[in-house]
Subunit: 101 residues, 2 copies
DNA sequence: AATACCAATCGTACATTTACGATAAGAAAT
DNA sequence: ATTTCTTATCGTAAATGTACGATTGGTATT
């Protein structure tokens, strides 16, 4: 790999990793993801009952996780079912893995 | 393990993990750590030359990494040598590892 | 003791994050 | 069409994060 290209790739990887880390940088969001790992899926309302937070706050955290690509929402009227986005999840996993050696 | 204790431990683990993630949640801090992984150690001045940031800004990022426990500084007058804190590093590593399964 | 060097800290400005209550939006069921 | 249920979005306030220049602090060296 060319040296210049190396730098670009590394820069991208760094930014991507920082982005994932930022999304994981709040206890509530970690807890949501842990819950999704156990349950595989859940509805917004479930989380609102679990956490001592307003519904709007939980929704906001879900939005950030969705923006980071770590979860995805599926319409299950009148609810919305959230699951981990396995594709992005494994990307994040390997980025953290290789970061920590 | 008792159920109640389980919750406490999990809660702590969640918070610790979120804390590490937060420290990793900025491209500059990821880049600093990547650099430290390569070099094993470096001085503040080295980083100031690498990054297009003010000395005070770099220092601030170093402080956050130090607060998170991921790095440690050692007096090498008139410089300060920074290294990865291997102990905390491996704690962070295993927390992320088990988080991602 | 005075100087020089390097890095931390201070003060500050601006942007982002986090939380809340209130309101709007979407899809089904009546 | 209206109502109901669930969740997203809006508006807002307080806290935190990020960046800078200027200043301070700490450690040798002269």
């Amino acid at each position: 790999m060319k040296r210049s290209l190396e730098h670009i790739v590394d820069k991208e990887g760094t930014e991507t990793l920082a982005n994932f880390a930022k999304a994981l940088g709040h206890p509530t969001r970690i807890a949501i993801l842990k819950h999704l790992e156990n349950q595989s899926c859940c509805y917004t309302g479930d989380l609102v009952e679990i956490f001592p937070l307003a519904q709007s706050t939980v929704s906001q955290h879900l939005k950030e996780l969705k923006n980071a690509g770590l979860i995805q929402g599926e319409l299950r009227p009148p609810k919305i079912k959230y699951c981990i986005n396995q594709e992005k999840w494994s990307i994040a996993k390997s980025l953290f893995q290789q970061f920590f050696d």
